[in-house]
Symmetry: C2
Subunit: 201 residues, 2 copies
């Protein structure tokens, strides 16, 4: 790196701090931008600043927005009695991509992960309870991932909601579409058996 | 994407324009920056602008620099009679990493690639000839890659330099360190045979 201009070294260092970008990729990106596409370097710079300065969390559901409320919370045609609980914004995006769920969301921004030192207070749970107080919500669909932490969080939240008198459901667990029995892991198979459904031909 | 804030969509689009970054990676990067590390978003934004605005090509060898001449051209302890010819800045970096070559460089910023419509005029060749005029340079080491275009460029440049009365050499081609014969490609093997050296035990 000795012979690289300071500004270039700095750019490579900053790129390397991004997740899943190592020093080699960072160097390649920096070269490309400085050597071939300074226009992109400038427009990316602007986009980064704009996003960092204007994107914040929705005051109600904690999804991303540039205003006080996100587009989903502001949409009167969504079912106001249903909340889907997700860990992070990307999960919400995945569900919206399917386009079938028409209720509201609540983004936890974390999971209950005692092994990583994250207790329930690291999630937006109190804020969820606040939303349930007026009695409009009749069901909370818990859509945390099918991982140890996702399951633990689901159990914890379900217990809390039941104390609060609100019904909660969990996404079905079982064989994924296209999944071959031969390659399915033990837990998936066991859950697929436990959750088996009657066939009505 | 419908429900993402505009600034976020814009950031994802800009990231996607980088080489080897698809829409999924771009989305993950944008989420990380906006959701977890706004400080990095801002410092990356600054580094991009700074690099795009201050990094330019060395007036003599066309490597990257923030001043008129790069650190290598300005270094009086480098051998001023030897020029290593490379395709692009990253190649120069690779050679500097080894640390054995102590001469100067000349970056072509291109190769002779008729199939891609790039003629000799797309390279910094006239600028190379200018550097040879005062007769100080006694050898040009042609270090373009061992590809079809790298070889063609090397031949073309060697012919031109010979007309000019300057000696040129080409990097040795053969088996790479650790290369197993079994997996070597035909061209590499053939060149390793053609360039075989006497062993003096």
């Amino acid at each position: 790196m000795i012979s690289l201009p300071q500004a270039m070294q700095k750019l490579i260092r900053e790129f390397s701090r991004l997740p899943s970008i190592g020093e080699k990729s960072a160097t390649r990106l920096a070269y490309h931008l400085v050597n071939h596409d300074k226009q992109l370097a400038l427009s990316l710079s602007d986009a980064l600043r704009k996003a960092a300065e204007s994107v914040k969390l929705c005051q109600r559901c904690f999804y991303l927005t540039e205003e006080d409320l996100c587009t989903i919370c502001k949409n009167p045609s969504r079912d106001q009695s249903l909340i889907c609980l997700v860990e992070k914004p990307a999960d919400l995006m995945a569900i919206e991509r399917v386009g079938e769920f028409r209720g509201l969301y609540h983004v936890l921004h974390g999971l209950w992960a005692p092994l990583r030192g994250q207790g329930p207070e690291s999630m937006k749970l109190q804020e969820l309870l606040e939303r349930l107080k007026d009695g409009v919500i009749r069901e909370v669909i818990i859509a945390t991932g099918s991982t140890v932490e996702g399951d633990a969080t689901a159990l914890y939240v379900a217990k809390m909601l039941s104390d609060f008198g609100v019904q909660s459901t969990r996404l079905a667990q079982g064989m994924p579409k296209g999944g071959e029995l031969e390659y399915a892991d033990d837990v998936t198979l066991s859950r697929a058996f436990a959750g088996r459904n009657l066939i009505n031909p």
